[in-house]
């Protein structure tokens, strides 16, 4: 069997006999197949997810038992201090936890892993529009892995000016121990991540606009694809600003420019070279990207959740068009609200008021989405599968994260809760309770397509239950800490009388956090066991409508063994036109097809 890929190169399926080292490398390592690249992203980001989680445990350890010896790993890491976390190491921990989770896990797992894997399959294309660019977008991540990872080992032990990297702390080398080589490596790694995202986003936009199967109009796209499409637009328009800002900070550090360094700075009792810059400029540039990035980290998850909810409620998605408009609305507003990270930064208070109104408006499309999800499960036939449980918990956790956002959007309240654990609670509810739960759901949902085998349901449900319980134990209590004014990023908050009595609650949270990370063992075991020994899945194990479920599991090179033609939207569950409770997009009207042998199948 041979097929023509998108870049016009004929490829041939090989039998195992003629499969040499060169073939192995071009098929599985430097592959231009979107599915292989998607899986490469998936495995890399899951590994970093684990590292990021362990960094979080380090943070939690210090907050629960400050300055006490860390059992087992403490002596290995900090033998000089007898197993204690030093304040320098603590600042590095939270800096790298956030950096890893944002830039190496959430953004690449959504766009890189699921975007790559699902976009061509769900729109009925044989590959991405630019397969070589796609391959590069993965391999450019490796310098980022290297530089972020390497910054752990250079003098000063990792970048330690926060993932927001505010100057002058980040741009004046004398200001912090990790502000030397580690910070420079951090900036280079950030640039690499940016290049990778940019290559991906150009590719996704082109693919979604140009390569849809016949009949696949924009308004028949699954919400996952809409999420990916809007995300790609956000990346393309916002990223150049961050990249420019990164270069400016790099220039400040290495070539003595003064974009972000003000005049008359005295650090460590020595006067710095005259700058004449403005620290707030960095914050504006950084958040001009990083606020849209917040939506880059949630919109694809919203899309995937919409698909999963509709599939397991066996009912059409409620309000498809309003959902599309809401995603676009969130993205549009996302460009004019970056200032809400800066209400107490010293920005003009009048400007703060403008940003406040725009920020409040984001609650509107978010509410529309939530109510439509509830409308989707109303009156359905809900199947409580593992992906469905994760998708449902996404909705509930997103409600919490969304509502707590209103507190900090209110400028006067933000004066009090800014930089406290209220904020930490808010974004963990959106990013862990929201996105990470959606990612787990998506893995359980699309795993049969990726590996051709099913994951174990009982293990998946145990994984869900434990993660859900311990996540809420860890993050819900943070709201209460925030109400006391408990600040972020303090190595020893109990130094202050105001916060001394909060130690027991922090210990409770730490125990929950450790158990939450430990619960992931169920996922890891399930994942690897199922890859090799799970029951065979077949093309469409969930009886879903999307195009990807009409392709073989796993799809071969070129994806489809027939030319998919699309007749309807992806959410026709429970349609009165057919006897089954689903109606695949490729099934011609009023003509029944066997899903394992699609009616439209054309043999090559």
């Amino acid at each position: 069997m041979s097929s023509i890929t998108a870049d016009g190169q004929a490829t041939h399926a090989h039998t195992s006999g003629e499969f040499g080292v060169g073939e192995f490398i071009s098929t599985y390592v430097f592959s231009r197949d979107h599915k292989v690249i998607g899986l490469q992203f998936l495995f890399s980001t899951l590994l970093w997810f684990l590292i990021g989680g362990l960094l979080a445990i380090g943070i939690r350890w210090q907050l629960a038992w400050p300055w006490s010896d860390m059992p087992v790993i403490g002596p290995m890491l900090f033998s000089a201090e007898g197993g204690q976390i030093s304040p320098e190491f603590y600042t590095m921990l939270f800096t790298m936890h956030a950096t890893v989770m944002t830039f190496l896990v959430i953004i690449p797992i959504l766009a890189g892993a699921f975007g790559n894997y699902l976009i061509p399959l769900m729109i009925g294309a044989d590959d991405m529009a630019f397969p070589t660019l796609n391959m590069l977008s993965y391999w450019v991540m490796w310098p980022a892995f290297f530089f972020f990872g390497g910054s752990f080992f250079v003098a000063g032990n990792g970048a330690s000016s926060g993932w927001t990297s505010y100057p002058p702390l980040s741009s004046v080398t004398e200001a912090a121990p990790g502000s030397g080589l580690a910070q420079t490596m951090w900036l280079i790694a950030l640039t690499c991540v940016g290049i990778s995202s940019m290559m991906g986003s150009v590719n996704y936009m082109t693919t979604i606009i140009q390569m849809r199967a016949p009949g696949m109009t924009m308004m028949r796209l699954p919400m996952t694809i809409w999420g990916m499409f809007i995300t790609a637009l956000l990346q393309a328009f916002a990223l150049p600003v961050l990249t420019a800002a990164g270069f400016m900070q790099l220039a400040d550090r290495m070539f003595g420019t003064g974009f972000f360094v003000p005049e008359g700075l005295i650090v460590n009792n020595s006067e710095m070279a005259a700058g004449g810059g403005q620290p707030l400029l960095w914050q504006h540039l950084f958040w001009f990207y990083s606020h849209p990035a917040v939506y880059i980290m949630i919109l694809p998850a919203m899309g995937m959740v919409s698909d999963i909810l509709s599939c397991f409620a066996r009912k059409p998605l409620f309000g498809y068009k309003p959902m599309v408009y809401a995603i676009s609305g969130i993205a549009g507003l996302g460009f004019i609200v970056w200032g809400h990270h800066m209400f107490v930064s010293g920005m003009n208070p009048g400007l703060g008021m403008t940003f406040m109104v725009a920020t409040m408006m984001i609650a509107l499309p978010s509410a529309v989405k939530t109510f439509n999800w509830l409308g989707t499960i109303y009156g359905g036939k809900i199947q409580f599968t593992t992906p469905m449980l994760f998708a449902l918990s996404f909705v509930l956790m997103f409600v919490i994260g969304g509502l707590s956002g209103i507190f900090m959007a209110a400028t006067p309240v933000d004066i009090f809760i800014h930089d406290t654990y209220f904020i930490v609670a808010h974004f963990h509810y959106v990013l862990f309770g929201g996105t990470a739960m959606a990612v787990f759901g998506a893995i359980y949902f699309w795993f049969p397509k990726m590996f051709g085998r099913m994951m174990n349901e009982p293990l998946g449900k145990i994984h869900f239950l434990l993660t859900f319980l311990f996540m809420n134990g860890t993050f819900f209590t943070m709201h209460i800490l925030g109400a006391v004014g408990f600040p972020r990023r303090l190595a020893d908050p109990y130094h202050y009388e105001t916060f001394r009595h909060l130690l027991p609650m922090n210990q409770f949270m730490t125990i929950c956090a450790i158990l939450m990370v430990a619960s992931q063992i169920f996922f890891i075991v399930n994942f690897f066991y199922s890859i090799f020994f799970g029951p065979k899945a077949g093309r469409n194990p969930w009886h879903a409508n999307g195009l990807e479920w009409q392709a073989p599991s796993p799809p071969g090179h070129g994806n489809f063994d027939f030319q998919p033609i699309v007749y309807r939207g992806p959410y026709e569950y429970g349609s009165p036109e057919v006897d089954e409770d689903y109606y695949p997009q490729t099934q011609p009207p009023n003509e029944r097809g066997d899903t394992d042998e699609p009616a439209t199948m054309v043999n090559h």
Binding site: N372, V399, Y496
Partner: protein, 266 residues
């Protein structure tokens, strides 16, 4: 299992509300797990927090209960009725767009006055001039340098009083402070005063409040400023105007004495 999962999701709004109520009432073992004692005259921030808490709490409970009910009722294993084959409802979309829009708009306008009071309406003197700061607070790694202008009310003159991490303010007066930084970003955070402002090198900013209760309270640094960020702790003392003036005089005399002895030693 559908019943079990529905109840699990129901537990989120129930436990969530319970934890908030429990801490707000300060019941065992969560005493003190709510706002620190308010010691300024202006309670608009706390008030606004409660307004938003009631509104969001209502939505949270509502969506949580709705979700529970749908999961309970439409469980595939229990529910035998037909699927509601619907692609949405125009009317519902309008209802749940317009109502949140009105509420949000109300909230946006409602809070503007509190923000203006905290950040735009600086206290005035009787002659219409902005009230001068009673002290200048400068953040540096890792301490708060505090400078009082002295008798002549001018900063950087010989009669200035300098302290470190120790700020005294008079009770029942509008206090204005000038805050800045000499090295990196810090944030001047007074939890009991509901006041927080990042200090930026090269920028002079003002904060104001009217303390109404005597006592010693924490000054917290709330913006990452380096490895010693956690120990950048100051103390603000609220006392009667007469005690305040007595402290100023005593501290100034001590400073003179130490400068005198320093000069003598040289």
């Amino acid at each position: 299992m559908g019943r079990f999962w529905s109840l699990l999701f129901l537990s989120v709004p129930i436990l969530g509300v319970a934890i908030f109520v429990w801490s707000a009432l300060g019941l065992y073992p969560l005493q003190g797990h709510w706002f620190p004692e308010l010691v300024v005259a202006d309670d608009s921030i706390d008030h606004l927090f409660y307004v938003i808490l009631w509104m969001t709490g209502f939505v949270f409970i509502g969506t949580g209960l709705a979700m529970f009910w749908f999961l309970w009722k439409y469980d595939d294993k229990k529910y035998t009725g037909p699927v509601w084959y619907s692609h949405g409802s125009h009317l519902l979309e309008i209802i749940w767009s317009v109502i949140p829009a009105v509420v949000i708009l109300f909230l946006a306008i409602y809070q503007m006055d509190a923000w203006a009071g905290a950040r735009m309406r600086r206290p005035m003197l009787e002659n219409g001039q902005p009230k001068p700061p009673i002290a200048r607070v400068t953040g540096r790694q890792f301490e708060w340098k505090i400078q009082y202008p002295g008798e002549d009310k001018q900063f950087d003159t010989p009669d200035d009083l300098y302290t470190t991490n120790e700020l005294h303010v008079p009770r029942d007066e509008e206090v204005v402070l000038e805050i800045t930084s000499e090295d990196v970003l810090h944030s001047f955070f007074l939890p009991n005063f509901r006041e927080k402002q990042d200090v930026v090198p090269g920028m002079k900013q003002f904060v104001w409040f009217k303390p109404v209760k005597d006592g010693k309270y924490d000054i917290v640094c709330a913006e990452l400023c380096g490895w010693g960020h956690y120990k950048m702790k100051g103390q603000i003392t609220v006392e009667s105007p007469s005690d305040y003036r007595a402290w100023l005089k005593k501290a100034y005399d001590e400073q003179e004495l130490s400068e005198y002895s320093l000069a003598e030693a040289e």
